[in-house]
């Protein structure tokens, strides 16, 4: 009898509690990420690109309070901003280039028409 009474309550509690556990992109992105891959869209061979890609592969990005800082070897090498509107994250470089960000607990991808950068939590 007691169980019969408690079961709907437990279901209701679970429904209320689990959505609360799901983190939004704003919370998910706010940490330090390490670049794990940089891919260009198409086959591009360029020595400058290779050098920049190698620099990126050693970089870390820290997102906090709508700003990001990129560091490499402990030195700040880039900074910019990010915004979250309707769960859509946009990362903007200091030159104003927008990158569409898709963030999960395990991966952050920054997408532009020319290249895509993948990061994982540090």
């Amino acid at each position: 009898m007691k169980l019969k009474f408690l079961l709907p309550l437990l279901i209701l509690a679970a429904a209320l509690v689990f959505p609360g556990c799901k983190k939004g992109p704003e919370k998910l992105i706010a940490k330090t990420w390490k670049v794990t891959n940089v891919m260009t869209k198409g086959t591009i061979q360029d020595s400058v690109f290779t050098v920049l890609k190698n620099q990126l592969m050693n970089a870390e990005m820290t997102f906090t309070e709508n700003k990001y800082t990129m560091t490499s070897g402990g030195n700040a090498i880039e900074h910019g901003t990010y915004s979250v509107v309707n769960d859509i994250v946009t990362v903007t470089t200091e030159e104003g280039m927008n990158m569409n960000a898709v963030v999960t607990k395990e991966t952050l991808t920054l997408d532009t028409p020319d290249f895509m950068t993948t990061l994982q939590p540090k």
């Binding site: 940089v38 591009i44 690109f49 200091e94 030159e95 280039m97 990158m99 920054l110 290249f115």
Partner: protein, 150 residues
């Protein structure tokens, strides 16, 4: 400029390489395997082998029209025609033809090609100056005004 911005610029620059070839082809120039390198300050370097000096000048003129190009640095070389054994006739009025160290009258004379003799064409280096080899083995530049195809 940050790394992402530099990367974006590098990718765009690389993409433009295709456009440079398109630009050259659209200008009616037949040239293959040209290589391009764009510096961050807008200096486009082009290298490769072309048929002659006129083609080289046409390529440079075409590339100067490309967006973002401030200057074109040409490392283009005229095709080596030595193996083709193309002969040309010296068509001066009566005198011998000066063979010079470089492509212009300001360069020293290194020898002479006899009037009405044949010289071997080595490279069509410049529209007005060809690299030749005389019958007695002197190599240098001669004005195309005094050379005719055999």
């Amino acid at each position: 400029m940050g790394l992402f911005d530099k990367l974006s610029k590098a990718v765009t620059t690389a993409k433009e390489k295709t456009d440079y070839n398109t630009l050259v082809t659209a200008s009616g120039i037949k040239a293959t395997d040209l290589k391009y390198s764009m510096s961050t300050d807008g200096i486009l370097t082009v290298s490769g082998i072309v048929a002659d000096g006129a083609t080289r000048e046409a390529i440079v003129a075409a590339l100067k029209k490309a967006e973002g190009v401030k200057e074109v640095k040409s490392l283009l070389e005229a095709e080596d025609l030595t193996e083709k054994r193309i002969m040309m006739k010296v068509v001066t009025r009566s005198s011998n033809l000066n063979i010079r160290k470089g492509p212009g009258t300001e360069f020293d004379i290194v020898g002479k090609a006899a009037h009405h003799s044949n010289v071997q064409l080595l490279k069509k280096t410049y529209p007005k100056w060809y690299l030749i080899k005389s019958e007695n083995g002197i190599e240098g530049y001669c004005s195309t005004d005094y050379l005719a195809q055999v």
